[in-house]
């Protein structure tokens, strides 16, 4: 009887299970179609799907400082007079060439006469002048852009293909700024909303915004230069690093634009399917020291802390051995980069001596307050354990990023910052000038450094590189902070795709050099 009962129960179960199976099979068949497309020979590829992390809330880079906007738009949809290439060098884009006056105050750009907007409107000197003047007058511009634009005294358009910028003071940083969001030339005939539509001159135009999932670019049919390689490029946003890797492994995306978890590199070791591109970003992972903390005002203490940390071992443990050891506020693609990672080398014995000299033989307790980002929390644990070996107690506090902004990054009303040490990646390009600002959260601004930096920024090109080199070296020797490593640019692509820029020197994910062999 029991046997019979169990048979009938099994029969009863078969109904729903069969239904599930049919459902699953239908889905499998449905799912096969996109998977099949992935296996087309790369030479026939007309579309590209790029996996990225953060979805932009808007397409308007002038009123929203999120880096995810220029990631999609810069060089791909909007173009600038000059661009920065993968090696960090300035290259012509809308301007075929440019001259700088001897006093370094006047920049004359010669526009490419072929240049025009996707709408068909002419991209001439008047368009550049009108656009920049509109930008300068915009009171809601992001703070960074406002500061960058303030240095421009006037813009003139003496000829259709000549545009002249006059600065209030010499600065070579300005030309780099013009190669980024500040320099994006917007079609003056456009009257819509830049948050949801684009009006550029690049090889792609915005085709579709799929809120919550993706941004789709389409090839601009009337592009003035070499046309875009793909008919359609989709930036798909997957916040979770595991999910992004899974999408790459299962062939739904063609590119992981920046691998978030370097420990997962091993998953992409099959060279017949994947290529791994290793380069550098502009992100310096800085163990920031608060120069308002009495102990940290002593050079010997700062040197001792640097020497106590084995930065090679830290990078191997925390970031899977990826990334460059830098030793100061410059990354390998900066023109003034020199390898300073040997400054104050790992030497715990010497660190203990220096601490004893400075009067901390009995030990020292410092608060290490870090944001809850992967590199910061992992680094903090490593740093705390190494500092313990030289008698320094680092008490770790992990803060959600917004709390970190409010409590560590933003000084209180009296100008005091509430931390001793912190770890954060500074991802802006050529950002050593931050050390020249006494109100910035490190409160550093050594007068000698400020002098070196300002002179270098205002000097001529050749002198500038040498000048910046001295400024960067000064920071390293003075142990103004502890530079752990430069964040690597780790890009995974489908094996057939070539031409992905090796280094992330700008905010752009530059599609213009990508090809599929």
């Amino acid at each position: 009887m029991d046997n019979r009962a169990s048979r009938s129960t099994r029969a009863g179960r078969r109904g729903p299970w069969a239904l599930l199976l049919v459902l699953a099979l239908t889905a499998v068949i449905a799912g096969c179609t996109p998977a099949g497309q992935q296996t087309t020979p790369a030479g026939d590829r007309h579309t590209l799907v790029v996996g990225a992390t953060l979805e932009p809330a808007s397409m308007d880079a002038f009123h929203n400082s999120a880096a995810s906007i220029p990631q999609v738009l810069l060089y791909n949809v909007y173009e600038t007079l000059v661009k920065v290439d993968s090696d960090g060098k300035l290259k012509p884009l809308l301007a075929q060439g440019w001259e700088v006056s001897p006093d370094r105050l006047t920049y004359t750009f010669h526009l490419n006469p072929a240049a025009k907007f996707a709408s068909g409107a002419a991209l001439d000197a008047t368009a550049v002048k009108t656009g920049f003047e509109k930008l300068k007058a915009d009171t809601k511009l992001t703070e960074t852009l406002r500061a960058q634009a303030a240095i421009v005294a006037s813009v003139e358009a003496p000829e259709a293909s000549t545009v002249v910028f006059t600065l209030t003071r010499p600065s070579l940083m300005w030309l780099y700024d013009m190669s980024s969001t500040l320099g994006m030339v917007v079609d003056p005939t456009f009257t819509g909303d830049l948050a949801t539509a684009t009006a550029g001159s690049g090889p792609y135009t915005l085709q579709k915004l799929n809120k919550g999932t993706s941004v789709v670019l389409g090839k601009s049919p009337s592009y003035w230069g070499t046309p875009g390689r793909f008919d359609e490029v989709t930036f798909r946003y997957i916040a979770d690093p595991n999910a992004q890797n899974a999408a790459m492994l299962s062939g739904e995306i063609d590119v992981v634009s920046n691998l978030q978890a370097p420990e997962s590199l091993a998953q992409f070791s099959d060279t017949s399917r994947f290529s791994v591109i290793r380069g550098t970003t502009n992100g310096e992972v800085v163990l920031g020291l608060n120069h308002q903390t009495k102990a940290l005002q002593d050079l010997r203490v700062r040197q001792a802390l640097t020497m106590a940390i084995d930065r090679t071992a830290l990078r191997d443990t925390v970031w899977n051995g990826e990334g460059t050891l830098i030793g100061s506020m410059a990354v390998p693609t900066d023109p003034w980069y020199t390898d300073l990672s040997g400054t104050n080398p790992y030497d715990p014995a010497r660190a203990r001596e220096l601490l004893a000299d400075a009067g901390y033989a009995e030990g020292l307790t410092l608060r290490l307050r870090v944001p809850t980002t992967a590199y910061a929390t992992k680094s903090a644990k490593f740093v705390a354990s190494q500092l313990r070996d030289v008698g320094v107690t680092a008490t770790i506090e992990e803060l959600d990023f917004n709390r970190w902004l409010a409590e560590v990054f933003t000084p209180d009303d009296a100008g005091k910052s509430n931390y001793d040490m912190t770890i954060v990646a500074h991802v802006e390009a050529r950002d050593l000038g931050k050390f020249a600002n006494p109100d910035y959260y490190w409160h550093y601004a050594d007068p000698e450094f400020v002098r070196l930096f300002t002179e270098a920024d205002e000097s001529g090109t050749a002198d500038q590189v040498a000048g910046m080199q001295s400024a960067v070296k000064f920071l390293a020797d003075d142990a103004a902070a502890i530079w752990l490593f430069a964040l690597p640019n780790l890009v995974i692509t489908d094996a057939g795709i070539t031409g992905i820029p090796q280094n992330a020197t700008t905010l752009s994910f530059d599609l213009t050099t990508i090809a599929s062999a």
């Binding site: 129960t9 889905a27 179609t33 992001t142 703070e143 919550g212 946003y237 999910a243 739904e252 990023f401």
Partner: protein, 320 residues
């Protein structure tokens, strides 16, 4: 009928009071979140003047009770406010997301029932045999698996190794029905497996009770075989406790759905809520949580009304 009307009125009263309490709680908690909204929005390089101007524009300088009243007043008129970071109305942002979460929860629940009812019946009928023990053991394992881990396992097997289904992402139903279905299978299955495992125990005990009832013994005595007897006479009785549990489990399923949305990169209410919290888009956070609370309360009210449908005795006010 008057019993029915009184029942309905009582439920609606509780519904309204709970909503009001929830709105106060949600507002109080989001207002207490650390971090300066203006600073978050303007980024690291904001000037103090720009920060002050934005705080005034956002109304952050107004007293809390006034801000609360303005928020609730707006919602009563169907206006959930504007998401400050994206500039879109909160309702407009939530609507497409609700569809995603709705599908996920619906299929997750259906799948959970399809797993739990047959398995629970086996566990009840065979409770002294190895089959029953096996079902119980599997249910324990299923409950012990965290949702995200179950999702990752399914992805690495079905999407990465076999490449049968997409690993994550979403396509709207209107755009591509086949793509829509293929993107929902794994997330819904993940939710079903975990929720199904939880439900098995309830289904089992509900049926075990039925097995001791006189009507079941009578059915067996007149020649019904165990499983059909259980289905014909037991299901409706077991359904009462099952529906109660389903209603209670809904909030757990919603929490599960939020996690599943992360693992599968689905653009649902969960991902919207998490991004909004990270970006301190307060009106969006408040609006989304309020909406989720409303959904859970509404379903619980429906559960209460469904007793009236399942159990005729409750309609007439008769007791057993």
């Amino acid at each position: 009928m008057s019993v029915l009307a009184r029942q309905v009125a009582r439920r609606l009263g509780i519904f309204a009071v709970t909503l009001l309490g929830a709105s106060v709680l949600i507002f109080a908690i989001t207002s207490a979140l650390p971090g300066d909204l203006a600073q978050v929005m303007l980024g690291l390089d904001a000037s103090p003047e720009a920060l002050a101007a934005l705080r005034a524009e956002l109304g952050l300088d107004r007293p809390l009770p006034l801000r609360y009243l303005a928020w609730v007043g707006g919602m009563l008129g169907g206006d959930f406010g504007i998401s400050r970071l994206s500039g879109y109305p909160v309702l407009q942002l939530m609507a497409p997301r609700f569809a995603v979460t709705g599908w996920l929860v619906l299929f997750g629940m259906i799948g959970a029932l399809l797993i739990a009812v047959p398995a629970g019946m086996v566990a009840a009928l065979k409770r002294r045999h190895w089959q029953g023990f096996a079902v119980n053991a599997l249910a324990q394992v299923g409950m012990a698996i965290p949702v995200f881990w179950g999702g990752i396992l399914l992805v690495s097997l079905v999407a990465v190794r076999l490449r049968w289904l997409p690993a994550n992402g979403y396509v709207p139903l209107s755009q591509d029905p086949a793509g829509w279905a293929s993107h929902l299978v794994l997330p819904a299955l993940t939710l079903s497996l975990v929720q199904g495992a939880v439900l098995i125990r309830y289904v089992r005990s509900a049926f075990v009770e039925v097995l001791d009832e006189d009507y079941y013994r009578t059915a067996r005595a007149i020649g019904w075989r165990p499983a059909p007897a259980l289905l014909r006479h037991g299901l409706r009785n077991a359904a009462m406790s099952l529906v109660t549990v389903l209603g209670l489990q809904l909030s757990a399923v919603l929490v599960g759905a939020i996690v599943v949305e992360q693992v599968f990169a689905l653009p649902g209410l969960g991902t919207l809520l998490l991004t909004a919290v990270q970006q301190r888009d307060l009106l969006l956070v408040q609006g989304t949580v309020m909406f989720l609370v409303l959904a859970v309360l509404a379903v619980n009210a429906l559960v209460d009304f469904s007793y009236l449908a399942i159990d005729p005795r409750q309609r007439t006010g008769e007791s057993r």
